[in-house]
């Protein structure tokens, strides 16, 4: 096998000679994994990529680079990671952060599940602490002083006699190519000057001045523009395509056809768009009406074969309920709806493929693309470049595969592929539809004696790893089959994420009905199953509070032992001005909801005030107050921004959004047919209150708001109207119908 190998960082630097770095590159593979070692687990992603120089490099001129295998998706953690390196006692500006790149960074899988701070943040924090110790030890040796007498500040080790050795002077040879210890000597959080402070994000200046900020903005020399002509529906077969007219169009360089995969390449971008339209008109497809009934998802999902598992079964025969209620909640398929459709640039040179992509997982996507191209993964390099916000698995991986497949047909020429709006809407993998059935009974004291929760769902991840997850690979003549879906394992879970309540009930049973068959293309969307499960649990808690004639917040606290959970609930209630049995003005309602994301990440409680127009059914969020506990806060403004965004986005999902389809095609293909929040629906204010926990582990918080926001709004609508809505989205029509019923 003579497959060309894209040089890894070690070989590039060794061979280049131009880059002078003072650490050893001897074994510093970016991918170098952990040897099988027993003993305590290393923190964060140090568990799987234990070498300190996988995370931090110090150049002889003192310049410091932090490497993360995670991708900046607009959450702002590139800035947060730069802050975390304070642990090394260097100025914020001395750090440069390099993000996901299969040639440079550790394999941290996907940037997903609110894991970045827990995995990569913890790795950088602890690596920085341990690198600092190594530098102190080296300085102690050179200065012939005891390590304990030395201090670090501003990128140097300082001795009591005034002598200083900069990190650049100290670092040498293999010094940082050592495996991390399970324990680090971390700074006292009280001394933090950067961590825990609202540092302005490093990516914003370019974004507000027209700098090159996204993969969409990349322009490589001689780059060509390609467009894909997608089938009109899932499974459609290309039966005829006379492309002769397209070939004659100005600027057209090539038409790429491989089975049902069809694309056109042109010199200029709008030439490619025009050629795509002509090619689409020439293509004749055979379609099959295989989609389920959009307005009957409850029966569709609960009728499909499922694999059932009981994930919680707690029994106390001494406690039994008296009053019993049950309810069924549903959620439609929903779109990620990135404002910028997916885009990628690929370049195939001398048998090696490089793809610039906004994928959430450069390593798994590389694996899938290499398999699709029947190339060695070592011959394929994926480099993350920011795209439009994705909120999960959107078209990013697919367009990267499109670009690679097209670029292979044009060796030597970089190819940029930009999906069109209709393609993103019709072909992105949606957030799965879900059904939950709940039944509970109250004892004589108004406590929940018995809780039954069942959830029906597809998997929530069809992410790459296998070529068969990629549209291009599914469509090519030698097609790759879609891999068998798997439920995501607990404790994080997928369809059953947050299905187990954090509340304590004497009797509780939770069943996950995992549905392997996927009528629509689906995958991970922000919060996965937690969005619908928390919506269901927290709506039902309000229904039960009503049955118990209890205040919703007091009712929750009655069943909650977790102190940090109680703290965010009480904080949100207090800041909102929540009062027991308070009556809002006519047409308005107050709502409350709480969850700890995945039952192991950030805590979030949200109180909201909603106004409902009884004539039109229109619900308007007036204000929301959130309290969040993410452990040690790194960038409070970044965290606030994430929670504000979660509330706004979840409000949009909850009030407006559902994918529409007929028996053959997806029919929600733009912003007219898939309306989302606009400025007329923006509330008067959102307040986010952070409960900081100095020194505590980082708890992922990018997704923690999705479920509580939905339930808080639903509970406020119920409070305002006296009607309980259980089918997402809570559209104007559904609210109006409920009022009129």
């Amino acid at each position: 096998m003579n497959a060309p190998v894209i040089l890894d960082r070690r070989r590039v630097l060794q061979g280049g000679g131009a880059l002078i770095v003072s650490f050893s590159l001897g074994r510093a593979f970016a991918e170098e994994g952990a040897p099988a070692a027993a003993g305590p687990k290393r923190p964060g992603s140090l568990a799987t990529a234990p070498y300190l120089d996988s995370w931090l490099r110090i150049d002889s001129d003192g310049r410091i680079t932090a490497f993360t295998g995670k991708a900046e998706l607009g959450q702002g953690f590139k800035t947060a990671f730069q802050q975390i390196a304070e642990q090394l006692d260097v100025p914020f500006k001395a750090i440069h952060v390099v993000t996901a790149d299969t040639q440079l960074t550790a394999n941290e899988g996907y940037t997903a599940g609110s894991h970045s701070m827990q995995d990569s943040g913890a790795a950088i924090l602890n690596a920085a602490a341990q690198v600092r110790e190594l530098l102190i030890a080296e300085a102690a040796k050179r200065l012939d002083l005891a390590g304990e007498s030395l201090k670090t500040d501003n990128g140097a080790v300082a001795a009591p006699d005034g002598r200083r050795l900069t990190y650049g002077e100290l670092v040498a040879a293999d010094m940082l190519h050592v495996q991390a210890q399970p324990q680090s000597k971390l700074k006292d959080p009280a001394t933090f000057k950067i961590i825990g402070h609202p540092v302005p994000r490093v990516d914003i200046p370019a974004k507000v001045t027209g700098g090159e900020a996204y993969v969409q903005d990349m322009r490589l020399p001689d780059m060509a523009h390609a467009r894909v002509v997608r089938p009109p529906s899932y499974g459609a077969q290309l039966v005829e395509c006379d492309s002769s007219a397209v070939e004659k169009l100005p600027g057209v360089v090539k038409i790429v056809r491989d089975g049902n995969f069809l694309a056109v390449v042109a010199d200029k971008e709008f030439q490619a768009v025009k050629a795509m339209n002509t090619l689409a008109a020439a293509a004749k497809w055979k379609e099959s009406p295989n989609l389920p009934k959009q307005n009957d998802l409850l029966n569709v999902l609960t009728s499909l074969p499922s694999q059932d598992s009981t994930i919680l079964n707690r029994s106390d025969p001494s406690v039994s309920g008296q009053k019993t209620v049950e309810a069924t909640y549903t959620r439609s398929y929903q779109s990620h709806g990135s404002i910028g459709p997916s885009c990628a640039v690929a370049h195939f040179v001398e048998g090696a493929m490089t793809v610039w992509t906004h994928t959430q997982g450069v390593y798994p996507d590389r694996q899938a693309i290499a398999e699709m191209l029947r190339m060695q993964p070592a011959s394929v390099r994926l480099i993350h470049v920011e795209g439009s916000g994705c909120y999960g698995h959107n078209g990013a991986d697919d367009v990267a595969a499109d670009a690679a497949l097209i670029a292979r047909a044009l060796p030597g020429r970089p190819v940029r592929v930009q999906w069109m709006r209709e393609q993103e809407h019709a072909w992105e993998p949606f957030g799965p539809a879900m059904v939950t059935k709940l039944k509970a009974s109250l004892d004589a004291d108004g406590r929940i004696a018995d809780w039954n929760f069942a959830v029906w769902s597809n998997t929530h991840s069809m992410r790459p790893g296998n070529a068969g997850t990629l549209l291009a690979a599914q469509h090519m003549a030698q097609a790759f089959a879609v891999p068998q879906p798997k439920p995501l394992p607990l404790p994080e879970g997928g369809g059953d994420r947050n299905a187990i309540p954090l509340y304590t009930f004497a009797n509780a049973r939770v069943v996950h009905h995992f549905i392997p068959a996927m009528p629509l293309r689906i995958s991970a969307m922000r919060g996965l199953g937690a969005y619908h499960n928390v919506f269901s649990i927290e709506s039902f808690m309000d229904e039960l509070a009503g049955l118990a004639d209890a205040d919703p917040i007091e009712f929750r606290l009655r069943h909650l032992e977790d102190q940090r959970g109680r703290d965010v609930i009480e904080k949100a209630a207090q800041e909102f001005g929540w009062k027991r049995y308070q009556k809002p003005q006519a047409g308005r309602g107050y709502g409350f909801a709480f969850a700890r994301y995945k039952n192991l990440a950030a805590y979030c409680a949200i109180a909201s005030e909603v106004e409902v127009n009884r004539e039109t059914g229109r619900a308007q969020l007036l204000r929301a107050v959130a309290a969040v506990d993410s452990g040690q806060v790194v960038n409070p403004d970044g965290l606030t921004n994430q929670i504000e965004g979660a509330i706004m986005q979840s409000m949009s999902w909850t009030l407006y959004e559902s994918v529409s389809f007929d028996d053959t095609r997806i029919t929600s293909i733009d912003w007219q047919t898939y309306p989302i929040l606009r400025f007329d629906a923006v509330p008067d204010r959102i307040n986010v209150h952070i409960i900081n926990r100095p020194g505590q582990p980082f708890l992922g918080s990018g997704e923690t708001g999705q479920g509580p926001a939905a339930a808080s709004i639903a509970n406020a609508i119920a409070h305002a109207t006296g009607k309980r809505l259980r089918d997402l989205p809570l559209t104007r029509k559904r609210i109006k119908d409920a009022i009129d019923a």
């Binding site: 200046p205 507000v208 404002i339 403004d637 504000e644 986005q649």
Partner: protein, 164 residues
């Protein structure tokens, strides 16, 4: 070949007359700020200013722009010398992914040009055509209010210097 004035500079453009302005800005003039979002005039991420008014560049063909002045976000200021609206968005940290932000800023700028002291309701109404998916709306609103204050201050200081 057509002449197009963008950010004060005349450019000779070799593109079909039906080419939407967005593609000319991005592909011919290598400008980044105006973004492709939908190509249908539904999302506002391609918004630029033409003769003082906010325009959706993805649905505005080149042929309609002869003799007109096009301004993009790049024409307002730079990282080192930001315009008031750019400073305001930085100071309010009014972005998450930021993909919609250039369009938001240009529509807000057009509003502030004709109405230097807009009410909150006027800003909301003006921004109605523009979509943000990250949910950065509260910050965008704050940034536009801040931009109005910054522009007011800038005007005042210019007037002081010129003795008005």
């Amino acid at each position: 070949m057509m002449t197009l004035k963008v950010n004060g500079q005349e450019n000779h453009i070799d593109a079909d007359p039906d080419t939407p302005l967005l593609y000319v800005l991005r592909d011919d003039l290598k400008l980044n700020a105006a973004k492709f979002g939908c190509g249908l005039g539904q999302c506002g991420s391609c918004t630029v200013i033409v003769d003082g008014k906010a325009v959706l560049s993805c649905v505005t063909p080149l042929v309609l722009l002869e003799g007109k002045q096009v301004t993009t976000l790049e024409g307002l200021g730079t990282v080192s010398a930001p315009a008031p609206i750019q400073r305001a968005f930085m100071e309010e940290q009014a972005a998450q992914c930021g993909y919609c932000i250039a369009g938001m800023m240009m529509r807000a700028q057009a509003l502030l040009l004709r109405n230097p002291k807009p009410t909150d309701a006027q800003i909301r109404a003006e921004l109605q055509p523009n979509l943000c998916r990250c949910g950065t709306h509260m910050r965008i609103l704050r940034a536009v209010h801040r931009a109005a204050r910054l522009m007011d201050t800038a005007d005042a200081s210019v007037n002081e210097r010129s003795g008005q």
